[in-house]
């Protein structure tokens, strides 16, 4: 790209920024980088630049790069949730593509800044992951690349099994710590002598039950954290690796929780911002083409961009022109569409977004349906009733699409065995995968591990003791 083009793009950026602000968007300052495809795909496959090395990233990179090389798919933009935020533009983008991408990115950044689920994300994550990468490299140097890589295999197998509200616990625990510190008497050098003759029966010890630390409370949704704190087998560096993976998973979880909204919001705004720009007829045509490429239904599957986009438009319309019923029942005066969608972008996640705003009208318009495999050979539409469709969609988004697992016991059989429980909600686990993942958990726990789940409507416990699998 020539300097002149960059200057032109900077001018457009100023315009787009002004339009976005006029609309009420409130993004962080954003730095755009123009990069070659290799870098684009690299950032895309690592989700953040500068992360630690692992073959799974290499695999993702290879796949994305191949898709690009064969012109099967192309990423136009990558955006990073930091402050200031980063947007990456592909150097082969046309000027119109760049404008649209910039508008789209600003939509994302506004969402990152204002959606409640992101309120606790680390906005200096790029720096954090690069220190992680450094530490990981030091461990590789010290303990061997293979050792670290194989250990990461195990940790990554359960990286999603953390508590999305971990930050709450972190805050409480700091508070409690403070509280405890206040209650503790100032320790003198010889205070421990008191306990010898029972003259000081530890009046400050908290009552039983209270003393259970957070990481020991059961059941425990945050498996990664539980293992990090309680595993009988891990070395200090291994606990540190888990801590790093945990921190990165915490950072990514809000993005998994708001995928549909986030893309819907960005698409909603790039469309409106582009309309305000003074585009030539040709540019306008190119934009229309691009836009319809982004927000078009994919046959059979769900396109999150399209779904989110449609729901936001629908909300705006409903709050602008409420029905008679809505006016009377809910007291909606109308003309509140903009206000409403800004509220939604602030307080909802995909689950509540769809549960609250996916209406009968929308389900019909989008022709949504539930499908399942019948007799192991035909994928068949089994449900068209809109409530069922909505509920199924919400169910599939719950726990960001992963089975909900908890640690039930860390001392099962009184033998330091780990007992995990799958909170069954109607869908069975992939057992082949579950057994392999259980092997990974065994690596982290070092003692026999169990997983309770439901298979063919029967309670089944998978067990792995380091050598063989059992089923009860």
């Amino acid at each position: 790209m020539e300097d002149r083009e960059i200057r032109n793009l900077e001018t457009s950026l100023d315009q787009i920024w002004a339009v976005a602000q006029k609309f009420g968007l409130d993004p962080y300052p954003t730095r755009f980088e123009i990069v070659p495809a290799t870098v684009m795909y690299e950032v895309g496959s690592y989700a953040l630049p500068g992360r630690y090395s692992h073959w799974t990233f290499g695999k993702a990179y290879h796949r994305m790069k191949t898709m690009y090389d064969f012109a099967l798919s192309k990423i136009y933009e990558v955006v990073i949730n930091t402050n200031p935020a980063y947007g990456f533009l592909l150097e082969t983008n046309s000027p119109v593509q760049n404008k649209m991408v910039i508008a789209h990115v600003l939509g994302h950044v506004d969402f990152f800044k204002n959606n409640i689920y992101f309120s606790k994300t680390n906005r200096r994550m790029v720096e954090s992951v690069s220190t992680h990468a450094q530490r990981m490299m030091d461990y590789e140097f010290k303990y061997g690349r293979k050792t670290v890589e194989n250990f990461l295999d195990a940790v990554l197998s359960i990286e999603e099994h953390i508590d999305p509200n971990f930050f709450i616990r972190r805050e409480i625990s700091a508070e409690e710590e403070k509280h405890r510190a206040e209650q503790r008497p100032k320790e003198g050098r010889y205070d421990d002598l008191w306990s010898l003759d029972g003259r000081n029966p530890s009046p400050t010890l908290p009552a039983r039950g209270e003393e259970v630390k957070h990481h020991e409370r059961l059941p425990q949704k945050d498996i990664l954290y539980y293992l990090m704190k309680n595993s009988p087998t891990l070395a200090a560096w291994q606990r540190d690796v888990i801590a790093m993976v945990h921190e990165e998973a915490e950072y990514f979880i809000p993005q998994m929780q708001t995928k549909i909204m986030n893309e819907g919001w960005a698409s909603f705004w790039h469309a409106r911002i582009m309309r305000e720009l003074d585009l030539s007829d040709n540019d306008h045509l190119e934009f229309a083409d691009l836009h319809s490429g982004v927000v078009s239904p994919h046959k059979g599957k769900l396109n999150p961009y399209y779904l989110g986009y449609k729901v936001f438009e629908h909300i705006e319309r409903r709050w602008d022109n409420p029905s008679q019923e809505e006016r009377e029942k809910f007291g909606r005066p109308g003309n509140q569409g903009r206000e409403k969608i800004f509220e939604v972008r602030e307080i909802d996640s995909d689950v509540s977004f769809l549960r609250n705003y996916l209406t009968e009208e929308l389900c019909e318009e989008l022709d949504l349906f539930v499908y399942e495999l019948v007799e192991e050979e035909e994928w068949t539409i089994s449900e068209k009733r809109w409530e069922r469709v909505r509920d199924q969609l919400v169910a599939n988004m719950t726990n960001f699409g992963f089975p909900y697992l908890e640690v039930e016991d860390g001392d099962y059989h009184g033998n330091r065995e780990l007992y995990l429980k799958h909170c069954y909600e109607g869908t069975e686990l992939d057992l082949r995968y579950a057994r392999k993942a259980l092997e990974h958990v065994h690596t982290l726990w070092g003692r026999p591990v169990h997983l309770e789940t439901i298979v063919d409507e029967e309670v089944t416990v998978l067990r792995y003791d380091g050598e063989e699998h059992q089923e009860e």
């Binding site: 960059i6 950026l13 059979g300 769900l302 192991e376 050979e377 068949t380 539409i381 199924q392 869908t427």
Partner: protein
């Protein structure tokens, strides 16, 4: 709000980790040699150095739902109704080679590029000719060129620069000019020269026999072919000077060329003894056991004429007594297991009547994946384990 353009040319992380992934793939290949060995892509590679074989992508195991038991939400074109079939699960059994491609929707396959030489090196790592003996008459196995001398004259291309510099410095020092480099004279030049070294090794001949009777269907021929593909390759890689004699037979046996051996199709009944007799004749004529290590291998489906069985066993015994190792491979119907075999099949007769012969090895192959174990059994370390 800024737009920047930086120099990213040093950015290599993705490429480095892609290398790590490739390394994992190579490990996986090593673990899956059994299924890769009999891939059509390799056997029919026709001299290509690299081939693409389908491999299950390296899984990242997680706790996940069973895709096939999960209900999904999809979007239609506005006219869908309950009961519509929107897709069909691909039928198992269509995939060949590695498992059944597409059977599990959640499985990712991708084409791994493998270098045949690399695979061969992995496969041949622990194969060798069993019971190899020193024989009276030695054949020149190879002429090797070894650079093992330094001279003052020679071809300029073989100039040994390091030695030349050393000589030059030494000469300068001797001349009292200090130990430094410069002013090269003809005296300083040193050249590497070579010697031709002969290596001798015992003679070995492999007699490859194949049943081409009517009952040997496509699959069976393919199995025999993939076995011999690797065998020939193995012998040529590891031993510079191994003779291979190709014999094909139905009711009669004849010696054929390598090409005919691998491509011809015939029909008719099976008289196994004909091949053994021909092998013995060829041995008598061209490969006296005093001078040669002899390895006959035979692949058949075991459907021999009943009346020929005694003769076959007798000749097999004779082969075993003359040769270092007699290998017999019996190929079953695709996917069938051994219990379905009639007891009249040759392998069970051999196993019964030749069971105290150390120098006999019989294997059964029902599946493509059995080819690699068969190779390992025939060319594995011998003397320790006796074949079942």
């Amino acid at each position: 709000m800024t737009i920047q353009r930086n120099d990213w040319s040093l950015q290599r992380k993705g490429i480095i980790d892609q290398e790590r992934h490739k390394e994992r793939v190579r490990e996986a290949i090593r673990k899956n040699l059994g299924s890769i060995v009999s891939q059509e892509a390799i056997i029919l590679s026709d001299g290509k150095r690299t081939v693409r074989v389908p491999m299950r992508a390296l899984d990242e195991y997680k706790f996940r739902f069973d895709y096939h038991k999960q209900k999904h939400v999809g979007q239609g074109d506005g006219k869908t109704r309950a009961g519509d079939v929107i897709a069909r699960e691909s039928q198992p059994g269509q995939g060949t080679g590695v498992g059944q491609a597409g059977q599990e929707a959640g499985d990712e396959y991708y084409e791994a590029e493998v270098n045949i030489d690399e695979i061969a090196a992995l496969i041949f790592e622990d194969l060798h000719l069993p019971f190899l003996q020193e024989k009276a008459k030695k054949a020149v196995q190879s002429k090797k060129t070894q650079f093992n001398e330094i001279r003052r004259t020679g071809v300029i291309a073989n100039l040994d620069k390091r030695r030349m510099i050393m000589e030059n410095i030494r000469r300068n020092a001797r001349a009292g000019q200090g130990a430094k480099f410069g002013d090269i004279k003809k005296d300083d030049l040193r050249f590497k020269t070579w010697e031709e070294v002969m290596r001798y090794e015992s003679n070995a001949v492999v007699i490859a026999m194949i049943d081409v009777s009517g009952s040997m269907g496509e699959f069976k021929k393919y199995i025999a072919r993939s076995f011999y593909f690797w065998m020939v390759r193995f012998l040529r890689t590891k031993y510079d000077n191994v003779d291979i004699v190709f014999i094909s037979h139905h009711t009669e046996a004849r010696e054929v060329t390598e090409e005919q051996f691998f491509t011809q199709g015939e029909s008719g009944g099976t008289v196994v003894s004909s091949a053994y007799q021909l092998a013995l004749d060829i041995i008598k004529l061209r490969y006296p056991p005093a001078d040669w290590n002899i390895y006959p291998f035979h692949f058949s489906d075991g459907d021999n004429y009943y009346s020929d069985n005694d003769e076959a066993v007798r000749l097999a015994e004779e082969l075993i007594d003359t040769c270092n190792l007699f290998g017999y491979g019996e190929i079953g119907e695709e996917g069938s297991s051994s219990y379905r075999r009639a007891s009249g099949a040759l392998l069970s007769i051999f196993n019964d009547r030749l069971k105290d012969k150390d120098h006999f090895s019989g294997v059964r192959i029902d599946d493509k994946e059995d080819v690699y174990p068969a190779l390992k059994q025939f060319f594995g370390l011998r003397g320790i384990e006796t074949p079942a």
